[in-house]
Symmetry: C2
Subunit: 498 residues, 2 copies
């Protein structure tokens, strides 16, 4: 083996070791850390992040990458690893140290300011820090460089190769097709959802969640589930992929679909090639692709009639008092009720993307200076009125609801919608290519779908761009129409319209 | 503040951050990690250990320490920090890189060999690796240097300032006083212990353990208890100190005294000065002192008549079927039954030190070449016959029972006995100095004792050597007589002899 390539692999894997150690510290903080542990944990995380950054931007790594770049004697995968690592390396090297320090400091103060502002329901407490952040993100876009629009530079941090231009087209269709469709559904009689909000005892919910995870082939020998305030998936290698959930006794939807969603993320991580640990070929392709995996399972599988044909009887047996008289069809309609809401994280599969549309429009406006931070509360209210038909009563339920901007994450929100669009295309294509996915589900089986995802998505790691991955797996570029067709067909069915 | 001292503190704290991160990875591995996670976890731990070693032996740290050494303008504590850090630094610098690599490799292969040998009950499988390890430890003693005996060099890694000469004296008295005393007790009618081995349901034991921890002032806002195969205490700062226990339903001693023991360790760590995080003044004094804290609580408190005067009625209420007819006095005698046994970790407070005596004699012999590895099984059997009067049936229950040597830990075992001797002296002195500790305990209170330990032991971190700490706290050097007096008085009482 090429000794420089070996040295590169070794260095990358050590960088990964440090990164994953930090991830475990974070997992622990969310799940088991005693309340007093926070102060020293923060500095431990900062130290590890600093070491990781230093290793990942070291001259040693840079020189190895530049030696190996374009070496056609390397295997195809090795060449792809080098290409992607060099891209990341060059990206990281564009940040002057002073900028990194200022950004870290601003982010940690912004996060605190946002927490205070949200608690106090007072946007003014967040505004100065957000203004500073927006300025820094504008500067960051300049540092990173871009062809068309500064937003592209920020977006690419999460979704390599994506452009504002493509997103404009996608959100254009959301505006012209999904917004009116959601309005149409809102005008129809709503499915009865009352039985979902009865008392569902905690321990029975927990058991049912474990049952679903087993059925979905989540590998408990290489993972575990715990409880946390906000459900998430994390991993420390493909052989240790953990998920969390939360349980509300007065509404079993919370646990059920967060579990299915996180399981989708986890199957992806558990399916990445372990021999590529620490290298791009062992990493997820992009946030959009990651989200496509969680949403595919959550919505296309976990909110389908076929899936519950098999599992609803099991659920019913667990909660006979709550669901004894409910039919499988009533259940299917209830879990797919569409209803405009103020809070993004509570939104259904249809109106969810209206929340993202609003954030995307605002982010673009902030980055190019057309929207001013001071105007945000008003802009927010206008857009919620226009797209969702809702009156936003206050900023806590409005512009202050999401943590993302306070973390300096601009360009992140669109990956949620990209995830859904990818999910629809992957699922539709898997169903066409393999046949029988739906009847499998009616029998409680999901292997066929899972194997398709392993081969078409998981196995490639980050050796393909999201766009390439999509073309290779589905034979087509990403197309909003497939998503829209899925929505119209499914909700036509749920609401009895055609 | 002195800018070099500040730079020293900053660097030391970052070294600590990395070390504690590794400790969390280890805690997780023992407590929650899924079985598949081991492979990558091992390399993550190795990477962090390497980074920590690099930082802790960096020229940057060396040059700061040498600049600050002997700077009398520094505060007293600062000077002590520098002195101890320099000692550690110089110690670490004595190891050539090649030696460190060989040792790590040998240890990891030895540990595997030991596991195989123990499973197969076949010392021959461990012998070659143990021979290699003994050679390396002999070399290590030469690298580290010593005045009298190579064993001193190894011992000092765990117990700064301790010498073989002192230990010879201590174990000499164990041989001449404790060995015959244990034999005498073995000849007397044994207390009835049958009621300790009835069925004690898991969840009730867990609750009783939490109750004891609360009463002992373990701070749950800065710690937590979990289950693991072998009970241990670990910490990631003084504000996050965790303990583990294990539960046997057929014997509630396991959970109860491991919980009290680990709580003793944890109170020490929770009591170290948080503003000294990462510096010697914020660290435990030595392994012997650490063990003194666990044993003081386990034996002097947790196996005392006074302690159970208060807590036995509570225990009885939890397990009325098992203990309803047992008197407090019968209980006290039962939990202090003395009985020679083959396995160190199951030993009572008296015969425990006979196990350590044997290991100490063997270690000294191995290090100076008077005992050969090949003779170990026979030597082991002879000594168990001579000191404990027991026939060792096989090596799994003999020379293969402890993990320590396979980890390369020679000179570690004596700190267990040192811990008991220190514990007796600390407890006796605290009782004399404060008065009322025993009557406090009869009322379920331990604040007075705990406050004495906070002031006399915890507060000093590693600013004093174990010997200095002992003299300052108790006014005397460590004296075996106090321990022996305690043993004779307590067991005279238990066994009704004088």
């Amino acid at each position: 083996m090429n000794p420089e390539y070996e040295a590169y692999c070794d260095l990358m894997r050590r960088v990964a070791d440090v990164g994953y150690a930090g991830d475990l510290l974070q997992w622990d903080q969310e799940v088991y850390m005693p309340e007093g542990g926070g102060k020293f944990r923060a500095r431990q995380l900062a130290t590890l992040a600093g070491i990781r950054h230093e290793m990942g931007t070291s001259d040693e790594l840079g020189s190895l990458l530049n030696q190996l770049k374009g070496d056609t004697a390397l295997s195809d995968t090795a060449q792809k690893n080098i290409r992607e690592s060099l891209r990341k390396y060059d990206e990281q090297k564009k940040y002057p140290n002073a900028f990194v320090v200022t950004m870290q400091d601003t982010v940690s103060r912004s996060f605190e300011a946002w927490q205070r502002a949200r608690r106090a329901n007072d946007f003014a407490l967040f505004r100065p820090m957000l203004e500073k952040l927006v300025e820094l993100k504008q500067e960051e876009a300049q540092l990173l460089g871009y062809e068309d629009h500064p937003y592209d530079a920020l977006l690419n941090l999460y979704e390599p190769g994506a452009t504002k231009k493509e997103l404009d087209a996608m959100f254009g269709r959301i505006k012209s097709e999904l917004v009116p469709y959601a309005k149409q559904l809102a005008g129809l009689p709503a499915p009865d959802t009352s039985f979902l909000a009865r008392n569902y005892p905690r321990n029975h919910q927990w058991e049912f969640g474990l049952y679903l995870l087993e059925r979905m082939h989540y590998d408990f020998t290489r993972g575990r589930q715990d409880i946390s305030a906000h459900p998430f998936t994390t991993n420390f290698s493909p052989d240790d992929v953990r998920i969390t959930t939360r349980i509300r006794e007065d509404d079993f939807r919370e646990m059920t679909w967060s579990t299915i969603h996180e399981c989708g993320h986890a199957l992806y991580e558990q399916g990445l090639p372990a021999d590529m640990y620490g290298l791009p070929a062992g990493e997820f392709a992009s946030l959009g692709i990651h989200e496509s995996q969680s949403r595919l399972w959550e919505n296309h599988v976990g909110r389908s009639r076929a899936f519950w044909t098999f599992h609803f009887p099991v659920l019913k047996e667990k909660f006979p008092e709550n669901l004894g008289t409910v039919t499988s069809e009533e259940f299917f309609r209830a879990i797919n009720a569409v209803r405009p809401s103020l809070i993004r994280t509570n939104a259904d599969e249809v109106t969810y993307h209206l929340h993202i549309l609003i954030r995307f429009e605002i982010e673009c406006g902030l980055v190019n200076g057309q929207i001013r931070v001071g105007d945000l509360p008003a802009v927010w209210k206008e857009k919620y009125q226009a797209y969702l038909g809702l009156v936003v009563p206050d900023d806590a339920q409005g512009v202050l609801q999401d943590v993302h901007w306070s973390h300096g994450a601009f360009g992140y929100f669109p990956t949620y919608t990209l995830g859904s669009i990818y999910a629809a295309q992957f699922y539709t294509c898997a169903a066409e290519q393999t046949g029988g996915i739906e009847s499998d589900m009616e029998n409680g089986q999901t292997e066929r779908l899972w194997h398709w995802l392993r081969a078409q998505i998981y196995a490639h790691g980050r050796t393909l761009s999201p766009g390439e991955l999509c073309r290779q797996a589905t034979g087509r570029t990403l197309d909003f129409s497939t998503f829209m067709k899925y929505i119209i067909s499914k909700y036509g069915n749920v609401y009895g319209i055609s």
